[in-house]
Symmetry: C2
Subunit: 298 residues, 2 copies
C-alpha cells in the first residue's frame, strides 16, 4: 500500500493509471475509519476488480465545518486508519494537508513591497443550490458547499472511474450524484448501505463522542425509522402527522433532542405531503453537542 | 473533422483518447469565429502536436448572460464556423445544446401524479469569489459564475491536456487559471495574445454590432491603452490621476461611454495605487448597447 500526501503526486499517479487503462475506485473519507468505511472499500474493490486500484482519501475537510462546529476535536487516528486500509487491500491512501488543499491568501497591506508577490489564496467553490437547502443544509448552511468543493477537487486529483459513498449520509450522496450529473464528471457514484452496530445504531466516527448513557439512548434514531416504516406499511400517513409522532417518539429518550425529521422523495429530495412505502425518511438528533443522523427508505 | 453534438459522445471520445495516450488541446468558444479564435486554435495545435487532437467547442452559454443582456441576439453562424474550423485543421467541433448542458427542473405542482417522476434540473455552479468581483464581474454580476461553470463542464467533457483562452478576456483567463489551481483540474491554461484589426481594435464577435460611425470610434479603447503605456514609460503615476486622464481621453470619441478603467496586478487582480510598467490596465466602453473591452500590460 502506498501513502501519498501531495496533490501533485496523487494526480500524476492517477493520470498514469488512466494512460495504462487501469480502473480506479475511490472512497473519500475523513478518517477514523469504522466498519462502514470498510464496506465502502469492498464496494470499490468489487467495482474495479483485482486489476484495478482502490484509493482511500483521509482528509478532515475544514471547508465543510462551520466555525462553531467540531473540526478541531473531530476524531483522528491515522496510524490505525492506515492499518485498517492495509488489511482491507487498499492500494493508495491519499492524505493531503490543508495548506495544499486550500492555499491561503497573502495579507493585503497598504504598502506591500511588491504587490504581485502576495500569494493568491483559495477562492473557487462548487455550490449545489437546490438539494442542499433542506435538512443537513438547513442545520449546517455552509456544509454542503464544503463537501461538493472537496469532492470535486478529489475527483480531479484521483480521477476515479467510480466513487463510493455511504447511504448514512443520504443527502450528501444525492447532492454528489447531482453534482456529477450537472458538472459532467466521468465518475460513477455508488451508494452503499448503512452499516449498523448490533443494536441498530448507524456507524459513525462521531459515535465515539457519546458517553455510555447517550450511547444507550442513541438507538432511538434507528427505532424511530423502524416505527415509521411500520406505520406506513399498509397505508399512507400525512407527513405532518408522522412528524408529530416521531417527535413524541424521540422524547422517550430523555438525552435526545430532535434536530429535524423529514419525509421526502429519494431523488429530488422534495418533501412529500403524504408518506407511503418508498418515501425516504431522514432525521438528526442531538445528544449533548453530538449530532447523529440516520435515514431509511420506508 | 468530426462534429459532436452530445455530451455523452464527446466524453466517450475524450476518455478513449486518454486511454490511447493522445494529447488534447481545447479552445472553448461561443462561435462566430474570427482571427482571434483561429490564433487560439493554432496555439492548441502547437501545444499537442500533429498526433494530438484539437477540439473547439461552439456554445453560446446562457449561464454567462444576465437576463438583460444580449444572449438572444449574440451572433451565430455555425456553417461559417465549421468551415473555418475545417480549414484550421480542427479535429473535433463540439456543439452541445442547452437542454443537455442545463437540464431544467420539472414543474412542481401541488399534487403531482408521482413526485419522483419530476425531472431534476441543473443546480450546481462553480463560483470564484475573489478575482471575479471587480471589472467585468462588477458590471456583470452573474457572468463569471456562468463562465467557470461551463468551463468546468467542458473540461470534464473534453478532458483536455491544455486549454487556450484569449488575452482580450484577461480577467476571464485569470479566473479560469485560478479555478484550475483551486479545483485541481489537470489542465494547462494557455493565454494567447489579443489579435487586433488593422487600426488596433481588438477582435471580438460583438464588433459586428457596431455601426460604421461607432466602429470608427471604437479604436479609442486601443488608443487609451497606448496613451497610458506612454504615460508610465519612465515614471510612476497615481492610478486615480491616470483614471481621470483616461476618462477624459475616451470622451474624445463622442459615441463612447466609459464603463470602467482599472489598473491592477496581473495575477491577483488587486487594484494598485501607483501605476508603473508591468501594471495591467483594462477598460470597458459602451457604444450604444454594445460593450467592448480591452486590456494591456503597461
Amino acid at each position: 500500500m502506498r501513502i501519498i500526501s501531495t496533490a501533485a503526486a496523487m494526480q500524476e499517479r492517477a493520470l498514469l493509471w488512466k494512460r495504462l487503462g487501469i480502473r480506479v475506485g475511490f472512497v473519500p473519507t475523513m478518517g477514523y475509519l469504522h466498519a462502514g468505511h470498510l464496506s465502502l472499500v469492498r464496494e470499490a474493490r468489487k467495482c474495479v476488480g483485482k486489476n484495478g486500484k482502490v484509493v482511500v482519501s483521509i482528509y478532515v475537510n475544514p471547508a465543510q465545518f462551520a466555525p462553531t462546529e467540531d473540526l478541531a476535536k473531530y476524531p483522528r487516528d491515522l496510524k490505525r486508519d492506515l492499518k485498517l486500509c492495509r488489511e482491507a487491500g487498499v492500494d493508495v491512501v491519499f492524505t493531503p494537508n490543508d495548506a495544499e488543499m486550500y492555499p491561503r491568501w497573502g495579507e493585503a497591506t497598504d504598502e506591500p513591497a511588491r504587490e504581485d508577490a502576495r500569494p493568491t489564496g483559495f477562492s473557487t467553490y462548487v455550490v449545489e443550490e437546490k438539494l442542499s437547502q433542506s435538512m443537513e443544509g438547513a442545520s449546517r448552511p455552509t456544509h454542503f458547499r464544503g463537501v461538493t468543493t472537496v469532492v470535486a477537487k478529489l475527483f480531479n486529483l484521483v480521477q476515479p472511474d467510480a466513487a463510493v459513498f455511504g447511504q448514512k449520509d443520504f443527502q450528501q450522496a444525492a447532492i454528489i450524484k447531482h453534482m456529477v450529473r450537472d458538472l459532467n464528471f466521468p465518475v460513477k457514484i455508488i451508494v452503499a448501505p448503512t452499516v449498523r452496530e448490533a443494536d441498530g445504531l448507524a456507524m459513525s466516527s462521531r459515535n465515539k463522542f457519546l458517553n455510555a448513557e447517550q450511547r444507550a439512548q442513541a438507538v432511538i434514531l434507528f427505532h424511530a425509522l423502524r416505527a415509521a416504516s411500520l406505520a406506513v406499511k399498509r397505508k399512507q400517513v400525512s407527513a405532518a402527522r408522522l412528524k408529530t409522532d416521531v417527535k413524541e417518539f424521540v422524547t422517550a429518550a430523555p438525552l435526545a433532542r430532535l434536530d429535524y425529521v423529514e419525509f421526502f422523495d429519494a431523488e429530488t429530495l422534495f418533501p412529500v405531503a403524504q408518506v407511503k412505502r418508498g418515501t425516504q425518511m431522514a432525521l438528526a438528533v442531538f445528544f449533548g453537542k453530538t449530532r447523529l443522523i440516520d435515514n431509511v427508505r420506508l
